[in-house]
Symmetry: D2
């Protein structure tokens, strides 16, 4: 069975496992006080070009979104998100559980525009009843988005400017950030993100780690007593080394980027195959998630040989499905998928 | 200055004040254990035709919505509402503060349709990822809606059927319920509401009381230890008599309905005036709130003589404004408003 | 039946009712924007001697404690309280519902000492694991306490000094504040409280009002967007006038103090009676709540003629019971209670 | 430097690492749907002797306590704990963050007695004001306790009986459960725990795993939609395999028990050394944590050669310190610690 269902089907990149094995018997302090965690943070600070950045490691995307949003907004504030944003749809209400409303705007192909954010905030303060409403307290975007699309540097800069003008922090969910950075169509580098966002995270779980997301506060603007807040959310690991060692490995010799690059190269091959075989794309994704408008009549046979992601019904005869590549996807797997697709 | 800004500009109906004065020196038990509260509850049980109903008195609409929704849904559940629903827009995130997501559907003129609720719930359970999403745990509607519109008995029955089929309670926000019941265009009586809804409230604050909303659990289906839950939300009054005496008065000799009838009669007069003078209505409201598409050029002069509610910009030259009538509105005030409107 | 069960058995002081009646038909803005609310706030500012104070009206004690504590502490902070504090025992977990731990210290006769607060905070920061614990973020005291006892000016000053030194706000719950201010044994005036506390409230519900507590931020140190926070907690009344009119009356011509003085005078008479008849006091209360170690054998006959408050079993033969006086207690009622007590 | 500071100073037991390496490239479903997780759950079901048990894997102790307590109690309920319980002291308020009060009882040497739990619950319902208080909704105990002590089977049975009689679930925090099960002084087996408790967890993080705690609902009494609740708390790992593989290894060929046995054997050696050298124990701990009343004058030199845990000041000349053993502690390390202690 071929498996293109997600980018987290394997364990972790072998190099991370090697480092976990090597360091295993070393006795270390708990809760992120170990030297691997310190080293990982330092490497990330250098990579993002911000010596003053604070870096913190959490376990997964939903947890990270909850802790970051809850700790950086006031009680009376909500978070602006595209209606398709992960926090708005697929986090089981984790943001509302922490007391904050997700203020959804339509967006386009998973992206918010600076103009719609500005319109929304302006309309909010123009409303005579705004004190009876949820204040816009943060802007949440994802790079790549849930649809694999990317913000350009210009778009990100425009969003950043609106946020600064309106005194609302800009939070970038980078659960799959590597794939954005290595996309052939991006002009946004890690340093741009650090310069333009108030907080973001570099996803590990979906980019080669067993678990772990590196939260970066680029201006050292970590909320006061952040460790306590993390603990209070049940998100503090006793063996912080688990993330420290993995991120130290990911940011040694550019491994994080090489991992992402493989996924992008395989995704480009997959796109070529799909295009050649005449399949229609739901939208143009320059990253590792490809969304295809698939004929229902062929879906049964596909499912017998390939695991894929179901997204939504497109029309009576078609379904939107997702193929993902990852650091672990091989040219052979793409070739095998091609043979299956040809045979349908 | 004429004041049509809202239906809560006066204190309370004089009869309520009279009863508060009469009973004032009586020594009574606290927290709703007094005989006025018991009598008010009993009168409401009779009025709704449900001897098994449980009736509880809270202070205001947002508080009532928060307590009812929070106590009748599980943690993993949210509440379905029209996008224009009060809980979705004008409650400062009180529902999210209690941990629950408001799941908004577009609705039409403030109303949800049974069909869109069904589609939403069906789509939810059809989604392979539904365990990662917020479960639909309640349906929230308001009668009249935030736009003054009404559900017909047929519409309410259809909603009720969907809710029962899907095992989701139906909650009716009756902050202005009196005006719905006395509308000339309604076919929905209080007993219909009690038969079709799982919980609803009979609004006092906006229908002649100083404060107070009567929550009705028509099948005696009050959540376990509801009083403790109310206390935990900070919503339990030591002098529960304040609401007991007022609701006992409101449900003696049909006062609640007479109060509402006056507002409706004045609203009908106002509609006739507006129609006659050629003003356009934003929508057709059969209750005490009237929404007018008002020419901006005349707004300044109107504002010098009349207090009205600002709703939203309509287009470059028009604004949607609201006029409210209440139990206290007089024919003279309508006539005076007419003179102002004519003079603009 | 004589009723000494509590100080909230009647409605409100007749003067408040008169003012509610007088102002009833006046059309006023909602949510506390009316001139009565403004006037009440101004009178309180003058009474506390703080032109810069911000004053806000809420409905009841538990609600006020929840809103104040939640809005003035960070997520990672809890509130220090005596183990007997109202928030620690009798608020159904309203503080925890808002996410904050109540950090209890033993106290003595309902009172915290500056020394024990200092010890606790010092020990907290001396603990190597304090980042894994709940930070002390506020000190909560009540004046009078739940046992009717009082902080002296010296004790309050000492607490205030510790709080300022440790950068922890001092919050005084004044649900029964009037009785403290009019006690014959106090040396603490309202202005002292305003000078020594960071936030406090002047209780209305238990001191002559139908409902209402006046929260005072003496240095104008109201949390940002406090109205929105109040709304989010379901605590904002549409008819804010209900509290505005009552507090305006309470702080006109010293009514608040006269109300309390009557309760104190009756309590002193009651104490004399109890002492004379040989009853033992549980502790020495200089305010309107008197705690008596009552022989169980006489409790049945007492209960046939007098409503009292049950506190706790004292020993096999005695029970601690509470008698309350209020603004409404008369000399005749005290005399009648004396006759009952003599007859037992 | 010798390190006896905790039982989580190394990574994981080499056998777990081996299994993580072996399974690494296998493509598996996410969120705990993989076959390792299923196999681990099945092995635990067999080990606890409960085919109907539901088993779920979370990441750490605080997270597990928060999710279990929040999902198994009603809003109006709190959780009874010894004052020294981990949830009461060292979880940064994670339980209160989820809205529940920790109801502390004094306990003795970290343990609650059935008698004090019964007294507390009886007193609660005997109090006329109980509806204004936090209901006892769960009993939380830890085995071993935070002081290394153990409940005997008789004590556990008595607690279980009280809980069943009072309809309050019994929750056992087994963060270090292995050390309890392998203690030479215990008569409580895993099956006893499954029979006597309503929910418990088998700790991984502190017993040889990188991370992970196995929550067991012995009667299949998992809360409805538990996975969604876990996700909502930010506690659901995309790569559930991380815990599945580790627990599958831990419960293969009795590895979990062997791991714990080594810690116990080393702890017994350590106790013998300490006793022989004349050190005083703070209490008699039959598990892997040893608490010693250490002379302050020797503490400096000890600290130069050994990492230990600081607990609290004992008196002016002594401090309570903690030595921990683990699966990784060797006889050589105990011998080395002996030499250090002798040399002080």
């Amino acid at each position: 069975m071929l498996n293109f269902a997600s980018d987290y089907t394997e364990g972790c990149h072998p190099e991370l496992l090697r480092r976990l094995c090597e360091s295993n018997m070393e006795q270390l302090g708990g809760y992120g006080t170990d030297h691997y965690t310190a080293s990982a943070a330092e490497k990330i600070r250098q990579e993002v070009g911000r010596p003053e950045a604070a870096v913190y490691f959490l376990s997964g995307g939903t947890q990270t979104n909850q802790v970051v949003i809850d700790s950086m907004t006031e009680s009376y504030e909500g978070v602006i998100s595209a209606a398709t944003g992960h926090i708005a749809v697929h986090e089981a209400g984790a943001i509302e559980y922490s007391g904050h409303k997700v203020l959804t705007l339509p967006g386009r192909e998973g992206k918010l525009s600076a103009a719609e954010v500005r319109r929304f905030i302006d309309a909010f303060y123009a409303d005579g009843n705004y004190e009876h409403m949820v204040f816009p307290g943060m802007v949440y975007i994802s790079q790549p988005t849930e649809y694999g699309t990317l913000y350009s540097r210009q778009e990100l800069t425009a969003l950043s400017e609106v946020c600064r003008e309106k005194h609302v922090p800009l939070f970038l969910d980078g659960a799959r950030l590597g794939y954005a950075l290595e996309s052939r169509e991006t002009d946004v580098a890690l340093r741009d993100i650090a310069a333009l966002c108030d907080v973001f995270y570099i996803g590990g779980t979906k980019v080669g780690a067993l678990s772990g997301e590196a939260v970066v506060f680029p201006k050292g603007n970590m909320p006061r007593h952040f460790l306590t807040l993390v603990k209070q959310h049940g998100a503090l690991l006793a063996k912080g080394r688990l993330h420290g060692v993995q991120f130290d490995a990911l940011f040694t010799d550019g491994l994080y980027f090489r991992i992402a690059r493989n996924a992008i190269e395989r995704a480009e091959e997959l796109k070529a195959v799909l295009r050649e075989l005449g399949f229609r794309f739901y939208l143009d994704s320059p990253t590792n998630q490809q969304f295809v408008i698939f004929p229902n009549e062929k879906l049964g046979r596909l499912g017998e040989q390939v695991l894929y992601g179901y997204m939504e019904a497109y029309d009576a005869e078609h379904t939107v499905i997702r193929f993902c590549t990852s650091w672990a996807t091989t040219e052979e797997q793409i070739a095998a998928l091609r043979r299956v697709l040809e045979s349908l």
